[in-house]
Symmetry: C2
DNA sequence: ATTTATGCAAAACTTTTGCATGGGA
DNA sequence: TCCCATGCAAAAGTTTTGCATAAAT
């Protein structure tokens, strides 16, 4: 069973068909999805799952920091990223909207320092860089020199 | 004139009443706003500015990485943060939805390393931590132990 | 003088709600 | 058995479009 499903269960939530299907869809998509994509793929997988459950589950997963909302450049519907281990990092190419993942970075140290200094408790983090990928690095940014 | 307005102009866009009002509202709000807040405050400041212009301008500012969309925990409408200097960092309290800003962090070094390693060009970044603030640190996370 | 941006208002979607039913624990 | 979660369908909002007009360069 997915560790994310186990966290749901550990938090006291029931393991339902809708929830496991939705989480499966997000994982199968590689951890980057749009609400519209989830809606579509869930419907294809199991048409008896209602749209409302998809939104309710996305909300629940967000509250648990299992996923986190982001705005992918290319889409109108909100995007979400999986946060295995409570964190995620990526680069968004502002030209072609490609997303480039990269591994960690030493933010644990910064998190610990912030916890100490600000008296907070941190559960996770999301780091996004914006720029141009290797294929687009010579192209102008969209919107520049209109 | 705001450096952000200057960037608009430098990129070839016209400096209009709508654009400067909208940017002013975002800056006056301290850099954290919701689309609904912008709509409301712009209407209060100058009722002749149409809603469509607000959304068009939010899109434009996002493409230029002058602002960046985020999801504030408390609201249903999408949020935006100002990115002075191309970057922004904050902590979101998952209990009370308070946002705690903090100053930089040494991410320039990481950005430079990523540019080298992945052959990308980076324009900015957004770093969000999720957790509990000093007032809420002893409270359970919402959604835990449902 | 040109060209871009605006305002208006309707249309298009996405997301949310309420309630009875079904499914986990 | 009990309570949570679901599905359905309608309602509520937010965001997007199209086009003629106004404004900025």
């Amino acid at each position: 069973m997915s560790p994310h499903l186990e966290r749901l269960k550990a938090a006291g939530y029931k393991l339902t068909k809708a929830r496991s299907t939705i989480l499966h869809v997000i994982e199968a998509a590689g951890g980057h999805v749009t609400s519209a994509e989830v809606l579509e793929k869930v419907a294809a997988l199991n048409p008896s799952i209602g749209r409302a459950s998809v939104f309710r589950t996305l909300d629940l997963l967000t509250r648990l920091v299992i996923i986190r909302p982001t705005y992918p450049g290319g889409s109108t519907t909100p995007g979400y990223v999986l946060m295995p281990g409570g964190h995620h990092h990526h680069i968004i190419c502002m030209v072609c909207n490609r997303i480039i993942e990269f591994d960690d970075c030493g933010l644990e140290g910064m998190a610990a320092a912030l916890e100490e200094r600000l008296h907070v408790r941190l559960e996770g983090h999301l780091l996004e860089f914006y720029g141009r990928c290797d294929r687009c690095r010579e192209l102008p940014l969209p919107g520049s020199e209109a």
